[in-house]
């Protein structure tokens, strides 16, 4: 390839990325709508908060599954790590929420960084098993070290007001939801920036064809480790938020069903365009609320049925429905996908 061509290509890619990085009006409407819901439904603050945190968790999975194409069946590992880090910190007298949030994300990121090399070998099946194995081991670790984690009883703790001003526990459900919203928005904006950066583009190359990406000089290993670490930090932040706003942690955070649920959320909303996790999480939480109000014991059945139908009917086709809908409303916004 001659030099002017390369320059021209670089310029065009830069222009393309720049175009994609701009915020579209449907996105702005989306975020304002979420904020409006928080203020419009004060009696539902707890469930809104849960949906926001689940959205952050699903966003974290989207970073590895949607953007990079790395499957994981053990993402709960990082949720649990973040939650327990924040909880242990708070129950030892350091009750500041932001400190706990940072620690939760940091601990999860470190473990993510350490375990990421395990994902570089083998196929999808190996990755599913390794991630599952890691989450189970961490759960067992939490179970066995009761002196730190409270074992099967979990931990109850109190949390200081946010910034010393706003209580975020049972006495401040609205504040808790706003706290989660703020964290989600900041982390989402960061993820969005990441996805529309050259780094994000290289992740897409790895997802589409790792061999070819390698031949083009895009090495997969370091990028996978990097994005996995970031995703782990996001999940850790989600765990810390969950722990702080409910003021309780239990071993169930490491459970297999957490990993399966978050996968389902992401699949419902559609993977790969970042909003999928948020939409899916909201749909999942609302569905669960409605169904379990009707048949509390058997709501899993409907989730399972939804999964089976989703897969048989073609996950991709259904998942692209919201995107097509947006494309219908605002053709320009999604011509090349939002992210």
């Amino acid at each position: 390839m001659s030099a002017p061509d390369a320059t021209e290509t670089t310029r065009r890619v830069a222009a393309h990325l720049h175009r994609r990085a701009r915020w579209r009006w449907p996105e702005i409407v989306f975020w304002l709508a979420v904020l409006a819901v928080i203020f419009a439904l004060p009696s539902r603050d707890a469930i809104i908060n849960e949906a926001l945190i689940a959205g952050l968790f699903a966003l974290s999975l989207d970073l590895i599954l949607g953007l990079t194409g790395i499957v994981s069946l053990g993402h709960a590992a990082f949720l649990g790590l973040g939650a327990y880090s924040a909880a242990v910190l708070a129950s030892n007298g350091f009750a500041d929420p932001l400190l706990g949030l940072a620690l939760g994300a940091a601990v999860a990121a470190i473990v993510g960084f350490v375990t990421a090399p395990l994902l570089l070998r083998g196929g999808d099946l190996t990755r599913l098993m390794v991630t599952l194995g890691v989450s189970l081991m961490l759960g067992e670790l939490a179970n066995r070290n009761g002196w730190l984690t409270g074992g099967a009883d979990g931990l109850n703790f109190s949390i200081a007001p946010l910034l010393g001003l706003f209580p975020i526990g049972f006495t401040g459900q609205r504040n808790a939801a706003l706290y989660s919203f703020a964290v989600l928005f900041i982390l989402f904006a960061t993820a969005r920036r990441l996805a529309t950066s050259p780094f994000g583009l290289s992740l897409a190359a790895i997802r589409e064809n790792r061999l070819r990406a390698g031949a083009l000089g895009v090495g997969a290993s370091r990028r996978i480790v990097a994005i996995y670490t970031v995703a782990a930090a996001y999940a850790g932040a989600a765990g810390a938020l969950l722990a702080q706003t409910t003021q309780i942690v239990s071993l169930d955070l490491f459970d297999f069903h957490r990993s399966a649920d978050v996968m389902l959320m992401l699949i419902i909303g559609g993977a790969g365009y970042l909003y999928g996790g948020l939409i899916g999480a909201a749909a999942f939480i609302v569905l669960r609320d409605v169904i379990s109000a009707a048949t509390p014991e058997y709501w899993e059945f409907w989730i399972g049925l939804a999964l089976v139908i989703l897969v048989l009917a073609g996950r991709e086709r259904i998942a692209s429905a919201p995107r097509r809908l947006i494309a219908l409303v605002a053709p320009r916004a999604t011509r090349r996908g939002v992210a």
Binding site: L65, L73, L118, G123, G133, E300, G304
Partner: protein, 287 residues
């Protein structure tokens, strides 16, 4: 010491029967069937309910524990599973998790949450001394039955025409198809037998695990996957050695080092995956 070893072997044998179907379907169809445990649960329920509600003797229920899941397996294979053979691992995992999530509430709805106990006949309970080593009669029974099943499966694979066709299909389904082997039919039969064996394993394990309850498919899902991971997904021998290794390690670990408990098997799995992603006893190719 020897007692623990034998207990471990018995547990490993159980794991083998429970998971052999999984390792063959995985090797043959590259299908990740996380719903395998649901078939084991159905087998366990068949035995428990036939004994408790219809008064059928234990041994007489075992054929039912094999046949019912096998029939269900072949029906599901023909209607649903086969659509996903070419699908991505993620789709297969999601689909089979969906089946598990459906199976558990159905079981809870039809049968109830409380564990269904299998009361062993008197000639199978108690302990005997074998050359100075004490062992539960039922453990011995499991070793004998499951050992016979393993031997029969291996003979079947090595000696019969169907076994040869099956091995050829596992090696390369496309070439086997080209040679005129009806791979489709082999898939269906193997799926049925695998589901049936899972059911039989579920029935045999009911006493060991303290009864069958609706959470059975999830409780043992991880164990199955570990067996398959360690043994590799390509054959009876690998699955058998993997199961035995896991059974002995698990029982010995719980006895000698209860404080680290389940770590041992998870640790073995992760180490295996790092060192040999295709399984300890598989041939060279990656899964």
């Amino acid at each position: 010491m020897l007692t623990i070893l034998l207990d471990g072997v018995a547990y490993g044998m159980l794991l083998f029967v429970l998971s052999s179907g999984l390792s063959v379907t995985l090797g043959l169809m590259n299908f990740i069937n996380l719903a395998h445990g649901a078939f084991a649960m159905i087998g366990g329920y068949a035995t428990a309910l036939l004994m408790n509600r219809a008064g059928v003797p234990f041994l007489a229920t075992l054929p039912a524990a094999f046949v019912i899941p096998a029939i269900l397996g072949v029906v599901l294979e023909r209607t649903l599973y086969r659509r996903l053979y070419g699908a991505s691992p993620l789709d297969q995992v999601l689909f089979s998790i969906g089946l598990v999530l459906m199976a558990m509430p159905i079981a809870a709805y039809l049968i109830g949450d409380e564990p269904q106990q299998v009361h062993l006949p008197t000639w199978l309970s108690g302990r005997i001394e074998l050359g100075g080593v004490g062992i539960g009669v039922y453990r011995l029974f499991i070793i004998v039955v499951c050992g016979a099943i393993a031997a029969a499966l291996q003979m079947f694979l090595i000696k019969t025409r169907f076994g040869a066709q099956l091995r050829a299909s596992v090696d390369d389904a496309r070439v086997a198809q080209g040679l005129g082997i009806n791979v489709d039919r082999i898939f269906a039969i193997v799926f049925a037998v695998g589901s049936g064996l899972a059911g039989l394993g579920g029935a045999l394990s009911a006493d060991v695990v303290g009864g069958i309850d609706p959470s059975f498919p999830v409780k043992f899902l991880v164990t199955f996957l570990i067996v398959v991971t360690i043994g590799g997904a390509n054959g009876i021998i690998g699955a058998l050695i993997g199961s035995l290794l896991l059974g002995v390690l698990d029982v010995a670990g719980k006895y000698y080092a209860p404080s680290i408990g389940a770590f041992i098997i998870y640790g073995v799995m992760v180490v295996t995956l790092i060192v040999r992603p295709q399984g300890l006893f598989a041939r060279g190719d990656t899964p």
